[in-house]
């Protein structure tokens, strides 16, 4: 058992898999000599050398094209896109090439690759360095999408993503890099497509992802003392999606709230709402409510960013208002 930060867990997860599999290689901007701009990959160059851990130019299309070409010819590359916002400069390689080529070739090609990226806000970096882009990826058939919320999940889901034979978009929550958690010694391997029930309640079910998970947990504690007993589900993986757990936990309480860092329109919460409103409509006791960042670009100022992203207070107030009306 050790206490590890979320940031340290990244390198730990990657190293664990690079040790057992020579075909795992890693490329990206400033990931080798510098150990990553978020210091998430410190030590990997030293342990695995410059042939397996390579710095690249600022050429995101080349980075992901290289990962794709390597994956289709037998390697298991990990590529870093420094900030998730930068997916926009290489989106074609992700959505038109990596996501579709297995299907288009009728299964002739396989793309065992992981694209890691720093996701989300909270660091006052402004609109072009703070986006939560999990929905950009969830929207595209052929991509798996993983967003861990704890150091332990980082390691286990990273290992599962690297071992998976499909392309995985692995989003690391920038706001969580400094958070700590217990991690067992030895290898950790988790399962993609499994949500976690973090708290069981009887009145309402809060469904959260990534950086919103600890906030949902804190909100649930506050709500409990105000007499509203909430289940909290950490989705962890948007594709594959653990609809069994989600449907079961919403059925059990009859009320569903999503807590989403993304701007509202077409967020994963909308997708979940539509699944629930279709498949367990008659188990619902009241409206489905989404708590999201408003549909605006994220502002840079700390005061404004804090107003934008769902806070514990906003979660508590929204749930209370809806449950008491």
């Amino acid at each position: 058992m050790a206490q590890l930060t979320y940031r340290e867990a990244i390198a730990r997860g990657i190293a664990q898999e690079m040790r057992r599999d020579e075909s795992v290689v890693f490329l990206g901007e400033d990931i080798a000599a510098a150990g990553g701009v978020f210091k998430g990959t410190v030590g990997l160059l030293e342990e695995f050398g410059p042939v397996r851990v390579r710095d690249t130019p600022i050429s995101e299309q080349a980075i992901l094209g290289a990962a794709m070409g390597a994956a289709m010819t037998g390697l298991r590359p990990i590529a870093e896109i420094m900030f998730a916002d930068f997916f926009a400069v290489c989106w074609d390689i992700v959505v038109n090439e990596i996501a579709k080529s297995r299907y288009m070739t009728n299964g002739q090609m396989t793309f065992p690759l992981v694209i890691r990226s720093g996701n989300g806000g909270g660091l006052r970096f402004g609109a072009q360095h703070s986006q939560s882009v999990e929905n950009w990826a969830m929207m595209v058939p052929g991509l798996k999408v993983v967003v861990p919320s704890t150091p332990l999940d980082v390691i286990g889901l990273m290992a599962a993503s690297i071992r998976d034979n499909d392309p995985v978009i692995f989003l690391e929550e920038k706001a969580l890099y400094a958070t700590k958690g217990e991690v067992p010694d030895g290898d950790v391997v988790d399962t993609l497509g499994s949500a976690k029930v973090l708290r069981q309640g009887s009145n309402a079910t809060l469904i959260a992802l990534g950086n919103m998970v600890p906030r949902a947990q804190l909100a649930a504690e506050e709500l409990a003392s105000a007499g509203i007993d909430c289940t909290v589900v950490d989705v962890r993986s948007l594709v594959p999606l653990d609809t069994q757990t989600i449907l079961r936990e919403v059925s059990a309480t009859g009320r569903m709230f999503t807590v989403e860092e993304n701007p509202r329109l077409c967020g994963w919460g909308g997708e979940l709402a539509s699944i629930v409103a279709d498949e367990i409509f008659y188990d619902l006791d009241g409206p489905i409510v989404r708590i999201t960042t408003p549909h605006i670009p994220l502002p840079a100022a700390d005061a404004l960013e804090d107003l934008a992203i769902p806070s514990v207070t906003r979660i508590v107030e929204t749930v209370q208002k809806s449950m008491n009306s």
Partner: protein
């Protein structure tokens, strides 16, 4: 570009190269007919006039080398040894198609033949080819990747990123520009800052500027073989610009009327196939030999057409197959 390392082609090799070019031509003509007869439902982009390139390059490659083609990729796919019938069937959207109808004309792929896909978004496959080359380099297999693209594709960002990336990592990849003078309906020089869209940019990546006659399969073969040797020797990437012309329009039934008559006539006179035919006669082949090659090709095209037409219509089972490596399409439990 020194060609010393390249094995010269013997007459038999050249007869084979003729067969290959002729087969590409006849395949494309049939594909055009099938389009007009509404057997081919989607789009298609033919290489008629450009066959010397696909054939000459393939000749310079080892079976385990890789090609990356564009939407104009029938010729490049067939030249690597992929049989005609599944390609026809793919164009027709049949279950016996190369990808069971799921990819279509623009995405021909046959991994077993080293045909690592045809890509329909301009520029995307240049970085992808870098990745395959990187994998060969990492695993020490001395495989080489060849990536075809058009003159118009030199102005997109991915071109630039891939060239620089290949150069700095010394990747075994050959970027092959088929300069047929036209983008879809726009002349490339009208929207390009330099006269030779690939060759005049080679120096921006520390590469040699190489221009070849794309209507001469022997020259294409020799220059490509030299670049392949260089790549296998660990000396890094090359970029080749071949001058050529498409006889027809850009795609589907486009008659290509935007091109001046004299230009079309000039290039028809440089048609690689009759030219090669004449060269073979001059180098000692008999007319009968060539006629027999042509007959056999025509027969093969007919047989393949019928085989393709006999294919079944794909159904729901194929529709929901192979999004994921486990063979399925489920996104939920």
């Amino acid at each position: 570009m020194s060609l010393d390392v390249v094995a010269p082609l013997l007459l038999d090799d050249k007869l084979d190269l003729y067969r290959s070019q002729f087969a590409l031509r006849q395949f494309e003509k049939r594909a055009y007919d099938l389009f007009l007869e509404n057997y081919v439902k989607g789009t298609s982009h033919l290489s008629i006039g450009q066959e010397a390139i696909a054939a000459g390059v393939a000749r310079a490659m080892r079976p385990d080398d890789w090609t990356f083609a564009t939407y104009r990729g029938h010729a490049h796919t067939l030249a690597r040894g992929v049989p005609m019938a599944p390609v026809f069937a793919e164009l027709m959207g049949r279950a016996n198609g190369l990808m069971a109808g799921k990819g279509g004309s623009m995405h021909l792929t046959s991994v077993e033949h080293g045909v690592m896909g045809s890509y329909a978004i301009i520029g995307a496959h240049l970085p992808i080819a870098c990745g395959a080359a990187w994998s060969a380099q990492y695993r020490g297999t001395d495989q080489v990747a060849v990536c075809f693209f058009g003159d118009g594709s030199t102005n997109i960002g991915a071109f630039h990123e891939a060239l620089n990336f290949a150069a700095i990592w010394k990747l075994p990849v050959i970027f092959f520009c088929e300069n047929n003078l036209w983008m879809e309906y726009t002349r490339t020089t009208e929207v390009t800052a330099v006269a030779n869209p690939a060759a005049d940019r080679a120096s921006a990546y520390g590469l040699e500027s190489i221009i070849v006659d794309g209507n001469d399969a022997d020259e294409v073969y020799a220059v490509t073989a030299a670049c392949v040797a260089r790549a296998r020797a660990g000396e890094g990437p090359s970029m080749i610009e071949a001058k050529t012309y498409r006889h027809g329009g850009h795609s589907r039934a486009d008659p290509g009327k935007y091109r001046p008559d004299e230009e079309v006539a000039e290039w028809l006179a440089k048609d690689p196939i009759p030219r090669y035919h004449q060269r073979l006669l001059a180098e000692g082949a008999s007319e009968a030999q060539l006629v027999e090659i042509e007959r056999a090709v025509n027969e093969a095209v007919d047989v393949a057409t019928e085989e393709a037409k006999a294919g079944a219509v794909p159904g729901e089972d194929l529709l929901m197959k192979d999004v994921w490596a486990n063979g399925g399409a489920e996104w939920r439990n």
